[in-house]
């Protein structure tokens, strides 16, 4: 009996002291937090990916609440993972109207695959793009393109980017990518860009066009290093009806805000440096077929003309140079 009593008293006393301590500590170190922060955080995906620019979802929630109190609007704050749905939810939690943003996606701006970009040296250090990039210009003649050691793959928390072993380049998974930008930050060559997912928001499958190269070398140098390089010839710029393409430092850039994904530039590009998603490519195929047909027609006509000229030349030897020019034309196109 005595034993039980002692045990009870002892345990009770320990419990009492412990709870008192806990109470005091909790009181002493209490930090007030806006209850809305918790609510907003709840609504956020909880991936803590940092895609919004804050260290985690809590930071984002805090920033949202502060932005609401300070400006009455969320401004640039956007959760790329949750997208418009989550932002709408957050806005309504804070009693605001949601402003929709276009969905985005990571785009790899290099298409120098193993065949088109021959190796000139071998990197033999730790398997990291950052280390390779800091060591030397690169394994290939192109000092701008993808290093191919997969720092982006390691950085991705959503299993959305993988190395394609055939091309040696990373590929983005359309479905899984949330455009958090972790891969773009991890890439030492800045090959990955976060772009608007689709030129038409309503399209069932994403329609987008981008220059899959960031080589700023002069055309000939770039071409020597990589068959698929953008040589800055400016053909795409001329063919674009929407004024979406600029060529600067021997490199074309397509403004995704202006681009309507018509596919004209893709068909025009002599090196195949401009890439597009499948629905656009279907259009491009048609354009190319038409172009080929046109070219064939032109050639036929040219041949005809040449024959006529030849016949004329036989009569009078004057128009020789014309024939030469015509013969040159298809050759130039091939290059």
């Amino acid at each position: 009996m005595n034993v039980i009593l002692i045990a009870l008293i002892a345990l009770g006393a320990i419990g009492l002291i412990g709870s008192l301590l806990l109470y005091l500590v909790a009181k002493q170190f209490y930090v007030y937090e806006d209850p809305r922060v918790g609510q907003v955080e709840e609504a956020l995906p909880g991936a803590n990916c940092g895609g919004c620019g804050f260290p985690g979802c809590h930071g984002m929630a805090d920033a949202c609440v502060k932005a609401k109190d300070a400006k009455g609007e969320l401004g640039d704050l956007f959760c790329p993972v949750g997208g418009n749905d989550v932002m709408a939810q957050v806005s309504s939690l804070l009693g605001m109207e949601a402003a929709a943003a276009d969905p985005k996606i990571a785009v790899v701006r290099c298409n120098g695959n193993l065949c088109s970009r021959p190796k000139v040296a071998v990197f033999d250090g730790a398997k990291s793009c950052a280390i390779a990039a800091s060591t030397f210009s690169g394994e290939t003649g192109c000092a701008f393109g993808c290093v191919g050691l997969g720092d982006c793959v390691k950085a991705c928390q959503f299993d959305a980017i993988h190395m394609n072993t055939e091309t040696g380049l990373p590929e983005v998974d359309e479905e899984k990518c949330v455009a958090c930008g972790a891969c773009a930050k991890a890439c030492p060559k800045f090959v990955i860009e976060i772009r608007k997912k689709s030129a038409m928001a309503k399209a069932p499958t994403a329609k987008r066009v981008w220059v899959s190269c960031i080589n700023k070398d002069k055309g000939a140098v770039a071409r020597k290093a990589c068959n698929n390089a953008c040589i800055g010839c400016g053909k795409c710029q001329k063919v674009c009806k929407f004024d979406a393409i600029t060529v600067e430092n021997n490199l074309a850039f397509i403004d995704s805000e202006k681009c309507k994904a018509c596919g004209m530039c893709v068909a025009e590009c002599p090196t195949g440096a401009i890439h597009a998603t499948e629905p656009v490519m279907a259009v491009v195929e048609k354009l190319k077929a038409k172009k080929a047909a046109d070219a064939a027609k032109a050639k036929e006509e040219a041949a005809k003309k040449a024959a006529e000229a030849k016949a004329a030349a036989e009569a009078a030897p004057a128009p020789q140079p014309v024939a030469e020019k015509v013969a040159e034309a298809p050759k130039a196109e091939k290059q």
Binding site: K119, A121, F123, G125, T135, F136
Partner: protein, 315 residues
């Protein structure tokens, strides 16, 4: 095509495998003495222990982890030999198998393999067996052979009884030095183990910090705890697992601290704990427990004990 990497472009040529091979070479003198002292039993136990360790590591990497096998780095062989060194030479093979499974499977591979284990695998195996099979693990043969050999107390137990006032004769220092006593397979000959230690120091496989600090601190605390008797303190150093522990078990790369200051602290603590357990604990032998305990403290030592920095003056 040229290779490109960051500097340095040359390497010392050292490898994990070479380090392990050096340890194996250093274990040879003690192994030879054990063959002489315990005969066929030592051979059977050592060979089967190595075989079990290698087998388990191979099976685990091949079928459980499905990774390239790591048997080639020889660390499993070192574990096998050290485990054999820590058991009596007449131990049953099936007990040895369990010990090897615990050492490799639990203490090493479940933590992630060589380099990630917190505890010295051979030591963990020995302690597991000591607790699980105390009778078999403390029945020491005193003569050569495997089955049905005469058994007796180890010098450590005798010293313990002697200190507590029993009328026993303790073995002479010379016997302890040479290894003419009973005990675990590989621990008996202090000279053979010291020879191995010298080889390791010569090859720079280990540094002096751990062995010296362990032995020195064990001597000092032995002297204090065993009634200021220098002879007893020396015997404590020469008997039991002290030499084996100080030279081969405590210096295990993975489970010991990184820098020399940490190693000195680690060694002193091992010496102290060993002597506390030997003198005041229930077990006559405290070396393995002392190392085991300090293995657990290694991450903490690594965190708080930093090496001597260049260009930093203490204020």
């Amino acid at each position: 095509m040229l290779n490109v990497s960051l500097s340095p472009h040359v390497h010392s040529g050292n490898s994990t495998r070479k380090c392990m091979a050096q340890v194996l070479v250093a274990l040879v003198p003690a192994l030879l003495w054990s063959f002489y002292q315990f005969g066929i039993g030592a051979l059977i136990v050592t060979l089967s222990s190595v075989a079990f360790c290698v087998l388990f590591e191979f099976l685990i990497t091949r079928f459980l982890l499905k990774t390239p096998t790591t048997v080639g780095d020889l660390s499993a062989i070192v574990t096998g030999v050290l485990l054999a060194f820590n058991v009596p030479s007449n131990i049953d093979i099936w007990i040895l198998a369990i010990g090897a499974l615990f050492a490799i499977g639990v203490a090493k591979m479940s933590f992630g393999g060589l380099g990630c284990n917190i505890f010295n695998p051979a030591l963990a195996g020995r302690i597991f067996l000591l607790i699980a099979y105390p009778v078999q693990m403390t029945t020491w043969p005193t003569e050569a052979g495997y089955a049905d050999v005469a058994t007796g107390a180890t010098p450590l137990a005798l010293i313990g009884q002697y200190v507590n006032g029993a009328d026993v004769t303790i073995p002479s220092i010379v016997d302890c030095l040479v290894g003419n006593t009973g005990g675990s397979l590989g621990e008996v000959s202090a000279i053979a183990l010291l020879l191995g230690g010298c080889y390791l120091l010569f090859r720079k496989t280990i540094t002096w910090h751990i062995p010296v600090s362990v032995l020195l601190s064990a001597f000092v605390f032995g002297f204090l705890f065993f009634g200021f008797d220098a002879k007893l303190a020396v015997e404590e150093l020469l008997c039991g697992g002290m030499m084996l522990g100080a030279i081969f078990m405590a210096t295990d790369y993975v489970s010991s601290p990184m820098n020399s200051r940490g190693q000195l602290l680690y060694g002193v603590c091992i010496g102290f704990l060993t002597m506390v357990i030997r003198r005041y604990g229930a077990y006559p032998e405290g070396m393995s427990f002392a190392i085991f305990i300090m293995n657990a403290f290694t991450p903490l030592i690594n965190k708080y004990v930093k090496p001597q920095r260049f260009g930093v003056v203490k204020k």
